[in-house]
Symmetry: T
Subunit: 150 residues, 12 copies
């Protein structure tokens, strides 16, 4: 199993912004945690950061063509209005788990991009990345099982 | 660690309703899956069903007083408008993970009760219960760690 | 044919409230009228009152399991916002006719629970109960005919 | 007792449009069913079709002047926005029962013309015409009884 | 000076509807009052009733072609939503005074057709017809004066 | 008959503002026109200007106490949001005609203060003052006639 | 004079929730304060807590039948959306004073249940219970005086 | 191939209204252009004008019954609110191309009738009629090809 | 303890307006009742009327500077939209109790000025002034107690 | 005549996404169809794909500077919210025809970018590209004719 | 160059209200800063405070008549809803710079009065007064340059 | 002091678009004016143009890391909906002054990106760049003073 973790708008600055809400974990530290967790689960993982929703979309289509098994993504600021990404998610057939570190519902926000994902996980701070990976593995396995059964 | 799994409005009928969206797993089968998963994680689990948001609220306060460590809940139909439960969630200091089997954001729905939870997980079908338990365990452990550190 | 007539929020007080709109027929008098009408149509009828939408929902599921043929219901105050009942109606496969004594459309109200019913009848004062029973019988007969044809 | 059945916007095409929702009964077949039902109830019935809400309104006023006892009407597409008909209904003192073959509330539609009717019946497919006639007869009888008592 | 008085949706029934708001003056009586007032002002007047906004529009274009000097109109129920008439009013270059017997602003209604008129007069009961004619004469005179000056 | 003409917010600057909409007639010229017209109708008239809605309200109550017969008023900028004046108009029993020089409906504006007036006249440029006075005289005469008849 | 004090949704937990807004007075302490105040005013008082709006409604009807003189109630979380209680309040003829410890208007909330009460008091912390009782006594006395005068 | 060109509300007055937006081409000139264009494309064309949406609807049904191949229509003022026509379009299986001479999206308008058409073309001035005919021919050809293939 | 009672927009006319809602007590009678009640409570009271929200605001600031202990105010028509007063209330640190004689929530109105007050009391007719004074005394005493404790 | 065909957000994936709505024609096949059609019309055509609205905008300005005669564009997902492109379209003086393969009005969507185009064509499947090119040629010719006439 | 600095609703209390947002500079201190800054720029400056939007408007018209060159104004609480001032600003031809000490956009507020100003400056604390004066001088100079050029 | 001037969406085309609103100053001319003004103020200035909000965001973060003292930016078309930039502004601790050449409030637009800036300046044409630089210098100096004082 090979997963792509995509970090969207302003996520490269995590740990610098609103630390009372998002905590102080910086992007490189998070990357270490993600890689360690993936190793524990015996899955390959690639991590990608961008502030451009065009690049984000291009990378998603590339992942689809390259045979990546699933995507875990914190779309960051893209969640507020990128219909480009929402439609991209609706196009590719990869399992996609969108994650956010805070509970957006409690803050009255509804992710636009999340409407194109298979699952959405909100809250849990940095742990949301690990739970997101586990959720994505389950989606991949379910899909594999269905294919095998067909 | 001891968790309470609460099933809200119409959840006792799961597997009977909109099977093309929610699947065909019936409540007793789900209970077995939850118990097996909890055992694997070495956590105690209690499961509670009700169609009354008053009972749901009373049970939540009781769990708080009885020293339950965390709550995983599919509030079901209560999610559309129970301010009683939202305020109840805002009152108790237990970690609460709200889960729903379908991606409500894709369906344009925003849970009222979810605004009072610590984390919300949407999609994944019945797997959302297992992922929800794992997420709740993480919240409980984080809390325990903070208490130990204080 | 066996029908369940369910009286929802505040309906036990009918005849006491806004008599210039709803008339002065009290609940026991109405029950007599319903029973007489049912007898005339040779259908069995059971009448149930509750102010709890949880009880209302539980009773609906029980009716479904007990083999009741159809439900005629004035959901009363539940019509303003019980998503629990709406979803319950969407789950059970019994014919459900929702009735209200006044023309809610003329008053700018749209029943939430009615969205889950098969048919909705508005206006006619207490006669709406008799017309509702007749309508429900037709739905039951159509269903029986379809089953027989299948 | 003499009733006028009025078929509004696009109703002459019934059976041709969205048959999965409205069924395949064509207008002439329906007319037969209505006439048979009226005969059974010993009421006279006249049936009128138009795509013009002006003609519909003129016909309503004429019925009022000619001493028709009541009107049963599927206003069809007029229900979406004919304030002309709503105001016309509010003017005449004839009992008016508005009917629609599908449950408009379930489809999120609220009839504009229905706000001027005495009663509104939604759902039941073609049976709604028979139930509508029965409902109208009850309104006529109630009115006659009140006049007699005065 | 020659004026056309146009009576729109349901206006032929005036005096029959909501007499506590609109008074009991019937259409023929009103016509007498209008003709008397016009005579006093030495203007010719033609009166036209219709429930069809298509006829209303056709009549307006005809008046324009026939050299009528101005239009005074109670659009009646057309005022709630006839964009056809609003656009027609915006097309013709005749002075148009729209009148209503009650103060629609006090009732929270804003006329759609009035947006195409030169002036709108609300309230005054049946007197609004006389004041409307006087207002229209002023508009006609102003226009004549401008033409003469050009 | 004695009338009070009240000029509200910014009206003292008329002729200086948006002359392509409101014309170039200055306040003193208008006053002359009003006085001449009143004389012709044999009514007394007093003219009052203010930019304060408090003063406007106080003046209205004083007029009521002093036995003024009716009020003609261009509330000017007060029309956008003075609930104080709307409620004041709803309190006094004097006939009140609100006037505006442009057709506010065509501009998508609905006067807040107009909801408290007996009649509203929109459009006609400066002529609206003369037509407003005539309309107010009719209201006064109707009222006098009713009193005499009582 | 005998009053019923009803505590609605989540009120049994008062003092535990958002103490910076609602203070730290616990339910039993409050009960003491209420009883002492009632004694001082020489009125009998009964206190009732529930998280079920059905029970709340049933208790209200019972109070009406048992001859209670008035109701003072903090409907708590029910205030956000219980149309059941609003309609119940609209049915019974007992004086009802709804109270809330914080100024809901300052927080942008408008109580649904309050629309059915005779009076609403917002703010004052726990003192709102005492002021609410005094207000209710005044309503009872006014009613008694009116009855005596009739 | 035989097409029907239908001109809706106020279109008979084209060239007279807002010429700075719609140009000065009059209806008879346009008819010539349409006929010439149709001839060049070797299609038969019939042109129909009406200000009545009822006539418009009746004519559409007649075209369907008479075997017309497709409809090109500028619904004119009907586009603002004729649900009758929208539903009519949804009923007939003829290819329908709705056209408007100005870009309604740039003007913030969304055609109600257009929701029932197969294609909508906005802008291009009078050329929109020629482009609309070409588009309709393509739809007819696609349909014919599909039928042949079936 | 010294209190200021402020009467806002149109309140000087109380007893003259909508007596079926607000009763017939005139301003001078009310003043007597207020003074008698204050005397009974041994508090000094000053009463101030104005239709100007600027004067109202100036008076509030003066009261603050003069050492008045609290304000009881029926802001009257100012409640519909005076952000000036709302912000003024938010500035001064005096206890402020806003009162209204009718239950505004039942009438669907939410006071703008009330958002700046400490407490809001709605309903009770003229008794709301006495209850408002009692509530204000409690706020003053709480504040004094806190100061003494500090 | 030289045209630029621009394919916006997610259009490079056409044929892969929602084929039941958009068909199965892939981007390279479409390019062939466009080139063949252009050749037939004797116009030069360049085709450009991007998922970045910044690149899209830069390319548009370049086309303007390079003397391209017109633009035909399916802005794809950019149509949901790219004000950047809308303003860019409003800046350049090139004829711009925006096209979409499905009838967006039927789906309740109104293109943001379309508000800056000269014409918008909706529906027709892949044929919309050919019709769009023809429409653009007409706009170019009209513009050339106007320049020649000046 | 002579400027008028106008301080609107509640501004005389600046430094007393929400000091964590607006700072602690009191009105007299600010006046000193403004005068010193004006002196440095060699412009005359007059400062005016009022809580009455009527006085504010009268003063604006007076400034216009007296030949003041420009106005710098913090309209304070008037910004929330004074259409009187907005229209006044739209009438006078003086350069007007509206200023606010906090960034209202960040707080979700859009000034009503600012819609009538030439420029609006938000944020910068008390420095906004100095920047506002500099901006106004630029507007005055531009205007003078244009006049000289004409 | 070193400032970065950032020109956002479509700003490279300034002078070409809507010259009657924005004037005819082209980008290179503006750059000269900015550099001359900065020199006069003895501040270093760098100017950056982009149509990509991703590039804009990356450049902002780089400025923060490189020790730039403040940012002055006309976000251009990004102001309509770039949550990416708004969140970026909320992250960096540099003083940011957003400027626009026209008064957006008068045009009913509220900048999304401006909600993340420290100050917003609207109107003044090209002078807004000079005033924006002066405002930014003040913010930088205030910040330096605070740091020195700490």
């Amino acid at each position: 199993v090979k997963l792509l973790v995509m970090q969207g708008g302003n996520m490269s600055m995590m740990g610098h912004r609103l630390p009372e809400i998002y905590g102080t974990t910086k992007a490189p530290e998070l990357d270490e945690m993600i890689r360690a967790h993936a190793k524990e689960r015996s899955v390959e993982v690639e991590i990608f950061y961008t502030n451009s929703d065009a690049e984000f979309t291009d990378r998603t289509y590339k992942a689809w063509q390259d045979g990546i098994d699933g995507i875990v993504t914190n779309t960051g600021a893209f969640c507020f209005g990128s219909y480009l990404i929402r439609e991209c998610f609706n196009t590719v057939t990869l399992p996609i788990v969108e994650i956010h570190m805070s509970n957006q519902i409690a803050r009255g926000t509804m992710s636009v991009t999340g409407a194109g994902a298979d699952a959405v996980i909100l809250g849990l701070g940095v742990d949301v990345y690990m739970i997101g990976i586990d959720a994505c593995i389950r989606l991949v396995n379910r899909k594999t099982a269905r294919s095998a059964a067909a």
